[in-house]
């Protein structure tokens, strides 16, 4: 990337060559890794369905129809059957996707923003900033992940927004550690020293010489993290600490369906399957992204 140093022209040429190399790598991977392409298609379909839910020819997800409760899949008018209140499961799954996907992406993005900022600060500035940042992450990592998220929701009160905040707080130390490691090694490199010798300010050094190097590792970590965050928010909703009725995400659908699992297993199996397929697809795509951006990992 910007290793070439302070001169703008060679840096631009290198960047263009780099982009071309990446495009080729993506092309090669697409032909080699068909599974990742399939996973990406599944994700695109899920995102489109979630985005377009209001305009899709779906039943109203909240209309109660008790005479038609717990209908099995492929029942007349209900492709995936109905839940314990006779609500259309397909519609609820699609509307639930909006909540689950948004929650996962938002929690991961918030964790990333906070984590990267603290990691850059903790890696670039030695002294008390580093001490404070690193002790904070140490202490947060001294808790089991799920437990701390639950404790934070306990403090803030159950609800989807609070669940997302909790998961973001619990999740940021991973990014902080990752980014700080990279920044620590960059700080000692010659091009940073050269920039400093030429009188570049901290802000310029960070923006032009440090941040571009963080892009690849952070994108890789983020692409693998979204799935984990979807699982975590679904878990909190499953415990009754996330989404509150009548809004439903996949986790809370699973929790309420649990009571009817003997009579109608589909009420539980379908939302779980939805989480599983989406997180699997995210992990497959994440792995492929890592193979492109971190070629050393691919050969392992």
């Amino acid at each position: 990337m910007s290793d070439a140093g302070v001169g703008a022209a060679p840096a631009t040429a290198l960047r263009a060559a780099d982009a071309a190399r990446r495009r080729r790598a993506f092309g090669r991977l697409a032909t080699r890794n068909r599974l990742a392409v399939l996973a990406a298609l599944v994700l695109v379909a899920a995102v489109l369905a979630a985005l377009l839910a209001p305009w899709l020819p779906l039943a109203d997800p909240d209309v109660v129809d008790t005479p038609n409760r717990l209908r099995p899949p492929l029942a007349a008018g209900h492709a995936l059957g109905t839940d314990e209140f006779g609500r259309d499961l397909l519609a609820r799954l699609v509307w639930g996707a909006r909540v689950s996907l948004t929650a996962g992406v938002a929690a991961a993005a918030a964790a990333m923003l906070v984590g990267v900022t603290l990691g850059v600060l903790g890696g670039f500035y030695t002294g008390w900033v580093e001490t404070v940042v690193m002790r904070l992450t140490d202490i947060l990592m001294a808790f089991p992940y799920v437990l701390l998220a639950i404790a934070i929701v306990a403090g803030l009160g159950p609800g989807l927004r609070n669940a997302m905040v909790a998961i973001a707080i619990v999740g940021f130390p991973i990014y902080t550690r990752l980014v700080r490691g990279v920044v620590l090694s960059l700080r000692e490199r010659e091009f940073v020293e050269a920039a400093r010798a030429l009188g570049a300010s901290d802000a310029v050094i960070l923006r032009r010489h440090v941040l571009p190097h963080l892009l690849s590792p952070v994108i890789v970590a983020f692409s693998l993290d979204v799935g984990a965050k979807i699982l975590a928010t679904a878990g909190l909703s499953f415990l009754g600490l996330g989404t509150q009725p009548p809004t439903a995400d996949w986790g809370s659908m699973l929790a309420t369906g649990r009571t009817f699992v003997i009579l109608s297993p589909h009420v539980v199996l379908l939302p779980g399957l939805a989480i599983f397929v989406i997180v699997l697809a995210l992990n497959l795509v994440g792995d492929a992204v890592r193979d492109v951006l971190d070629p050393r990992a691919a050969t392992r």
């Binding site: 404790a151 803030l156 649990r258 699992v261 003997i262 539980v268």
Partner: protein, 316 residues
């Protein structure tokens, strides 16, 4: 080793102080009056005032914290508002069930994970190796609570082989056999994701040691395959494997909350969730504190184990 132990114990002090601050702060994060949250909007002014005085909520935050720590150090975690009993006794009783579940899951995931990883490393690119790669991807993507429900439906409801929930049968149970039959499904559910992580890491650690010169020398000397894999390969790959197993121990301790809820296992996790829904702050605080403390101790034990396995660590 003694100096190493002393240093590690000293390092515990700031971590425990930080953990206690976080637990204390977390439950004071709530916007609004904790007394009102706990008692609900129906509470009378007198009830609110009494609870505030009981919990010391009228004092400045740092005084409240110091008092709370003072009580905790003396083993007093307060009284549960919901159960009207001291928190410590209740949490410790439940902790036994959680530790039993977590330890069983850890033994399962370590044994199965190491065995799978070693088998995959000795035959790279075999069917088994590929299957374990697919399994690890599935393990990372499957919600544990869903897997638990699926296992429960199949093995308890359809096949009727195992009990669906609880720790003992309500009638006529109570012996070891009864306990074990109740333990199988939750332990397998909890262990599932860990098995795949331990297996993948064991595989890569083994592949690395099996590629070393001393392994080639051992093979050239005519040492049997079995001895090469176990004595030269596995024993030298142990440090990273123990590391990941240690991380898994903590993960299982936290993840147990979800598994316990699925199987109505009477552990700290179910108690904590009940506490949150009942807005019983002292109970929740006690649960979090005890589990976090167990987690810190597990990490300490793992660190000591490394130092014992690899003498170089002690002298760093």
């Amino acid at each position: 080793m003694r100096r190493y132990l002393a240093r590690r114990l000293l390092l515990l002090v700031p971590v425990l102080a930080g953990v206690s601050v976080i637990i204390f702060m977390v439950l004071h994060l709530s916007p609004g009056d904790p007394a009102e949250i706990m008692l609900g909007s129906q509470a009378t002014r007198e009830d609110l005032a009494r609870l505030r005085a009981d919990l010391g909520l009228n004092e400045p935050l740092h005084v409240q914290y110091l008092k709370w720590v003072g009580h905790v150090v003396r083993g007093d975690l307060g009284r549960s508002l919901w159960m009207k009993r001291p928190v410590l006794g209740e949490v410790l009783t439940r902790l036994q069930a959680t530790l039993l579940l977590t330890a069983t899951a850890l033994v399962l995931s370590s044994a199965a994970g190491v065995a799978l990883g070693v088998a995959a490393a000795t035959r790279p690119n075999s069917v088994l190796d590929r299957l374990s790669a697919v399994a690890s991807l599935f393990g990372a993507s499957m919600p544990s609570f869903w897997l638990g429900i699926v296992l429960m439906v199949v093995f308890a409801l359809w096949l009727g082989w195992l009990p669906a929930s609880g720790m003992y049968a309500p009638h006529g149970g109570g012996d070891l056999r009864d306990l074990l039959s109740h333990l199988i499904l939750p332990a397998v559910t909890l262990a599932a994701a860990s098995v795949t992580i331990v297996a993948r890491l064991t595989r890569s650690a083994m592949l690395e040691t099996l590629g070393q010169d001393y392994v080639r020398t051992a093979r050239a000397k005519g040492v049997s395959d079995r001895a090469v894999v176990l004595r030269h390969g596995l024993s030298n790959a142990l440090v990273p494997i123990v590391t990941v197993i240690g991380v898994q121990a903590g993960y299982l301790l936290g993840g147990a909350v979800l598994t316990e809820t699925v199987f109505a296992w009477p552990g700290v996790g179910t108690l904590m969730v009940q506490g949150i829904l009942a807005r019983d702050f002292p109970l929740v605080q006690g649960c979090v504190l005890v589990v976090a403390l167990s987690f810190v101790l597990v990490n300490l034990a793992v660190d000591l184990l490394y130092a014992w396995l690899d003498p170089r660590i002690r002298y760093e």
